[in-house]
Amino acid sequence: MKAVRFYGTEDVRVENVPDPEILNPRDAIVKVTTTAICGSDLHIYGGYIPTMEKGDVLGHEFMGEVVEVGRDNHRLQVGDRVVVPFTIACGRCYFCKEQLWSLCDNSNPNAWMAEKLYGYSASGLFGYSHMYGGYPGGQAEFVRVPFADVGPLKVPATLSDEQVLFLSDIFPTGYMAAENCDIKPGDTVAVWGCGPVGQFAIQSARLLGAERVIAIDRFPERLALAASKGKAEVLDYEDIDVTDALRELTGGQGPDACIDAVGLESHGTTLDAWYDRAKTSMFLATDRPHALRQAIGACRKGGTISIPGVYGGWLDKFPLGAAFAKGLTLKMGQTHMHKYMPALLERIERGEIDPSFIITHRVTLDDAPEMYRTFREKEDACIKVVMKPGERTLAQ
């Protein structure tokens, strides 16, 4: 089958690889009808994610049709149309039972690797390094889905692929980011980063009752989308001092909650941002937390910092003193997908939100290498790329 494979920093290729097979009793094989490039795939593309190996199949946002099921999978049938969560969870361990699905104990075959780096391992992920399991990803014609009796969500034929595809990651991720803000009526939420997760965080904050949402970015098309679809007030950080502007907009109090939807490759125009760039380019630091620093500085006393943006290693000059002094709450982590997907599908069915508003580019799988570059450079006003693998049947 055709698949998008990682070969190194800024090097992805579309190649033929063997079709996936059922390996475990609860597996399913899904024929991918639509897949997408995620902003976090760009962290891999940029060489920031450790334990990637040459030839790894990328992609963790995908949906499609079930073409084969394992003998212990009694929930799915061949022909079911499903969206697959990017986190893999067994559904039976302590963490799954506690609704902490992205921290599943049993889905990462390489848990020992993550334990070396983090103490304990989170769940396995599709196409996101060997430390997270080494599972081949969904930017391919077919995918093997482990624990497919708890993960994939069946979707009704009345909704198009583009309307439900983002239930696989970015919509629930933006939603959990907003939910982590513990929004009360009248609250103001500031969102750093107006990429896809930021856009969904903005809309979700609105759905959860935020009175005002302030969006921060530097790309006009992203700020325009935040303003038009998310009804956010927008700040271009290249034009103004974000901290001052937020103080002014909130009567000197600061936003009640701040969302960092940027993550480890943050850009900035201030001194600390250049310091981060210098240190990471000399391998003296792993992550560039400029947006996070600014969010911590801007947040009101007793407020919440919610971090859906991905971090991987060690942060330098992390203002813990400010967070402590102001009594902030920090919430973060991979999304507990399985907890949010059914309720968010209902919101889509009720017409409260149509996630397809985010799509700017529709291409085939063959265009992946070019689209990774376009998305990364944010050329052509690129915000979200979806790919159609095309028609092929599984070889038996």
Binding site: I88, C90, Y94, F147
Partner: protein, 236 residues
């Protein structure tokens, strides 16, 4: 992990020495130690410490043995705190009775212990074990269960004549208010002094604890999730 250099060995207590010789040893040792310690100097301290084996001889009637790998009886080779000790534990969301039952059926063990090729229950609490050794060599040994309390503990030791000298115990307990089960393994084996010991060392890798930890993780995955996760065709 710990290793002890010598220990009091009950088997050798009966070794006969003239009472008078033992008393002379003890008296000399006491005098040397008293003198040495009373000097309150480094040489004095060294002298006192050097007299320790003599004192040992005075009490037990035999010289302490610093290198006794002569017996393949686990009660000798692994007595007290001797041998290499590995302790690992894991929690799982299954009833303690189910976990105990699964483990007590020793033939289940190769399903989650990747270095085991097979375990045959010989009946009468005895079992035959086969493991993958280095360079495709097979290591075999017989073991017997020496302690068994249902849903609580399972202890075993290898039998004399085995290629491996090992003993251990698994403790099963309920935790988190009875909602979860904790399995704690305490494994002991002879350090790599002889061929068999070296084989065991290779078997368990440079870090035996990490191997046992992986095995316990597989046990948890098998019992909780019903399968051991894998990203490729082979379990590694």
């Amino acid at each position: 992990m710990e290793e002890t250099m010598y220990s009091l060995d009950p088997q050798h207590e009966s070794t006969s020495y003239a009472e008078v010789e033992r008393w002379v040893s003890l008296a000399s040792a006491t005098a040397l130690m008293a003198y040495g310690f009373s000097r309150r100097t480094l040489p004095g301290f060294c002298l006192a410490v050097a007299a320790t084996p003599l004192a040992f001889r005075g009490v037990s009637g035999t010289w302490p043995r610093f290198n006794d790998w002569g017996s393949d009886d686990t009660r000798v080779a692994l007595s007290g705190s001797r041998g290499i000790h590995v302790r690992e534990s894991i929690r799982l969301e299954r009833p303690v009775a189910e976990v105990y039952r699964f483990w007590r059926n020793l033939e289940n063990l190769p399903r989650f212990m990747t270095h085991l090729e097979g375990v045959t229950d010989l009946g009468n609490r005895r079992s035959h074990w086969e493991a993958k050794g280095p360079a495709h060599m097979k290591v075999e040994w017989d073991a017997e269960i020496i302690n068994e309390v249902e849903d609580k503990v399972l202890g075993w030791r290898s039998l004399p004549g085995s290629e491996i000298i090992t003993a251990g115990a698994v403790n099963f307990s309920t935790v988190r208010g009875g909602r979860s089960t904790q399995v704690s393994v305490h494994l002991q084996y002879e350090p790599p002094a002889r061929r068999a010991g070296a084989l065991v060392a290779t078997l368990f890798g440079r870090n035996p604890a990490s191997m046992i930890r992986e095995d316990l993780r597989h046990l948890k995955q098998l019992l909780e999730a019903g399968e051991i996760p894998r990203a490729t065709g082979s379990l590694t």
